[in-house]
Symmetry: C2
DNA sequence: CGAAGACTTGAAAATCATCAAAACGAGTGG
DNA sequence: CCACTCGTTTTGATGATTTTCAAGTCTTCG
């Protein structure tokens, strides 16, 4: 059976866009149209709300320093772009075809019921995770050297935010095999790249301990910008 | 200034885990401990709720058919795992160190206020997006051939769910350069891989139209399982 | 028709994988 | 304390995948 082509009888019930599309469309406060290959949201712009794709194709697209681009997501009708409110996007949203979209004001999670503090906390967690995942997707456009450097920067920054670091040092329970499984490389190649990073004086990694000998240098190698880890409050 | 090591004065206010950690911890209904390198949630298991990392390191980890593994996320204390309720996970959650974690029952979005239908719809959109992003991360462990095949399968399935397909055909506004920017390959290599897919009789791609000549075969090449696109209802 | 963008081709070079083996380290039991 | 094991890290040689560069053809569209 061709599962791409045949109808899943449960699809109507399960596909979010089916039941929810009306709910989302009803919440739209303003509608806009854009031509093909144009910016819906520019890189660095603060989103005006939640964007709902009504018609056409678009992409989330990061412009790399070296001029190359990395597409982070494909947006089809019914898709929503929920980004941390009040914070500049670290990539652009660009149309592929002519697009109609709506803007939904950010809902207010904070005030109403006791439940909603939990919901707001979950939202922030989810937004942070989405942001990190996009950064991992961007890794597929980077070389092994950059990829590993970026991963180490991210992990150290996150560990630091958890209070798991002491100065420029932190526990690091991943084996080189684990790093390979994160980055999609072989453990042999990871080993050689780590040696290079050590030779460059950027890190020390030994006995389950990571030392950021030259955190600044490592960030430059990785083109790491830590902003994506700060999703801020849903409620400004 | 080393932004990895120096304190961002706004960090306290912005880092989700800081303010929200207490809120999340208060919602935990049961706590558990696991040893290092053990399954917190097995592949194919239905999650018991939202998992909150309290202590230790863990990973989301996909077991590939060929025995290799791909790590999809790193989980640190304060992180939450929010997965579509009532649906089996398509990967495992595995500890790296000894871990303490809590389980938070899924909050109920559907019933209370008018606002919450919107919130529930947004949640489903967000869960679907997170699921797709993890699949893109898994792509870094695949060859160019598989990667492109997988991307085409996903896009066709999503277009179909939007009603944008006619039979085994759909509009396809991406250039080969765009596919290269999605997959992290060069457009030259994408071109050659597309030729191979055509030679294998799997697809036809011409004049902004994609035809799934052999959708079943393409899914096999891509190891595509469409389940990750169906996130279901937050409220069962 | 002309021009711009998209697709295709070939050859050479870099990156990364594979395979196999050795060295190292931590932990265990004798 | 030593011998032993097991998992991890390291090394070397070889080959496949993928990139780069450069040019050519094909489409589309004003």
């Amino acid at each position: 059976m061709n599962t791409l082509l045949t109808e899943d009888p449960r699809r109507e019930a399960y596909r979010p866009a089916d039941g929810d599309r009306a709910v989302l469309a009803a919440a739209v406060s303003s509608r806009r149209s854009v031509g093909p290959r144009r910016d819906m949201v520019r890189d660095g712009e603060v989103p005006a709300g939640i964007y709902l794709m009504l018609e056409g194709w678009a992409v989330r697209c990061r412009q790399m320093r070296d001029g190359s681009r990395q597409i982070l997501a494909i947006l089809l009708p019914g898709d929503v772009c929920v980004d941390p409110p009040g914070r500049p996007l670290n990539h652009a949203i660009v149309t592929l075809t002519p697009v109609r979209y709506g803007v939904i004001p950010y809902p207010e999670f904070g005030e109403t019921a006791g439940q909603s503090a939990l919901v707001a906390a979950l939202w922030r967690g989810q937004l942070e995770m989405a942001s990190i995942q996009r950064e991992w997707i961007a890794n597929s456009g980077r070389s092994a050297h950059e990829r590993i450097a970026h991963f180490l920067c991210e992990l150290f920054a996150r560990a630091k935010a958890c209070g798991l670091t002491r100065g420029d040092e932190c526990d690091f329970p991943l084996t080189q095999q684990d790093i390979a499984e994160v980055t999609g490389l072989t453990s042999v190649h990871v080993n050689r790249m780590l040696q290079q990073l050590r030779r460059e004086g950027l890190i020390a990694l030994h006995a389950r301990k990571l030392v950021m000998s030259d955190g600044e240098g490592l960030q430059q190698v990785a083109l790491f910008k830590r902003g994506y880890l700060d999703v801020g409050r849903v409620q400004a």
